[in-house]
């Protein structure tokens, strides 16, 4: 299974990015890590060039919303029906409940939304979903 990952927008949380990278590798995924400061178009393009099964976008500085609103438009331009879209990290600035955030990001086009939860739990969820889809 191939995963494209990276940190979206003007976000420089390199430690989190690297930990996700190593975790995915430990779980047997082939990882394409675009690193920090990555834009949504680059993510989509990398999924296409690698024929990835999963796009795992992370965001730690709470600015994810502004960068991900256009996911739907981008998804409609290409045939990405087989790809699982996941976003995780700290998805909003200030006190917003997880119940509010999850549907919002699902509406943008993410299949899995993981807000302020443990990295391992998030990746367990991802693996469960992938198994389900098989």
């Amino acid at each position: 299974m191939k995963v494209v990952t990276g940190v979206v927008g003007n976000d420089i949380h390199v430690v989190a990015n690297r930990l996700i990278d190593i975790s995915l590798q430990e779980r047997g995924f082939t990882v394409f890590n675009l690193g920090v400061n990555t834009y949504l178009e680059e993510f989509i393009d990398a999924v296409i060039e690698t024929d990835a099964d999963v796009l795992l976008v992370s965001s730690l500085n709470g600015e994810a919303e502004g960068w991900c609103r256009d996911l739907g438009i981008l998804k409609s331009k290409f045939d990405l029906s087989g790809v699982v879209f996941m976003i995780g990290g700290n998805l909003s600035v200030g006190e917003v409940s997880t119940e509010e955030i999850i549907p919002k990001f699902q509406n943008y086009g993410f299949d899995l939304v993981s807000h302020q939860s443990d990295l391992n739990e998030g990746l367990d969820e991802l693996e469960a979903l992938l198994k389900e889809r098989l």
Binding site: F32, E41, D45, A46, I48, T50, D51, K77, F78, D79
Partner: protein, 396 residues
Amino acid sequence: MSKILIDIGSTYFKVSQDEGIAQYFRNFERNIYDDFQSRCGDLLSRYAKEDVHICSSANGGLSTLIIGLTHSFSLKYATNIAYNAGINIIDTVLYSHIHEYTPPQEQIDVVIIVGGIDGVKNIFDDTLLDYLKQINFHNIVYVGSDKSHSFMQENLENILILDNIINPKLQVRGEELKNFLTNLYQQDITGKEDIKHLYEFTSNQIYSTPYIVNRSMGMMHKTFEVADPFILIDIGGATTDIHYSRDLVVDNIVSESEYDRLVFKKLGVFKSRDSLVFSAKNNEFVYELLEFLNVTENILEEHSDNATKILMQLSIFLVLYKTSLHHNLYINLQLEKLNSIIFTGGITKVLQFEEVEMIVKFFCKKLLHFHQIPSLIIDDEYKIWTLGIKGSSHVS
């Protein structure tokens, strides 16, 4: 033994010997070889073939069509490689939307197909073949995923397969394609009737002039008062070349070169004069600029020495404008960080330093809101290509 260096341009021949540089305006009644022979034949007979080094932009350079999978990777990488190899005309097609592109009518020298890292299957299908059927091209090369090699070989006659330009880490790997395109230029020369005989004068490879100029970029400091980051603007009769320091762009290419190249094919002052005037008229700043230069719009229709000067000034402005953040291109240059601008090519013979300075001042004031301008260098002795060509003879 001293060497003789020759640049064959679309409007001038330039000849450099130890004594200095001479230039000859082309006689368009004759073909390049005959014209050159009649003017420089005697001179050349004094040099051994291995001491003659020729570069040329006279055959107009190669035209390229790149068909790629995405903007961020395949098209961007291939475009970068092609410009640096001295290719002048580049059109790109995003493969997923290929049906939206009108196939080019003119002859294409080389089609480049690219997409996918190695191991990715089923990227290209009959849609590609149908599109290619509508195009008239000389060469075709594939530099994408290895899994499409057999599809390409089975369906496209004479297709050349090279290393994937996208490595498994999604980074660019361009050496093989760049060498291929550079050599193709050589073959193009040997295939063109009026210049292929140039090889009678030299036993060295004839390179394209922009390729040679790009080679000189790293040596610029030794000859000119120049500070990085800088750009070099080469405004010729047909095309305008920009060579720029890599730190003026923000992108994720781990480059082999410190300087990359970019071409505006339609901003030349002679061959592409009409399109230059057209883009000038459509620029939001042009009327202010003409006023600043103290001329009226009518000058654009005139054919006088003064009109040529104004056109050249316009061309400088448009080139800067088009590379700036005000214009969306395949790349944008952070011109506010520029420390120097070097001008070379035909304009150095027409414009005075002050006339170039004026236009740069206007640009900096209008678009960057700067009062200070970068240091300007006018290469009116054509030192730049001699630097590059000497560097290249050094290597071989």
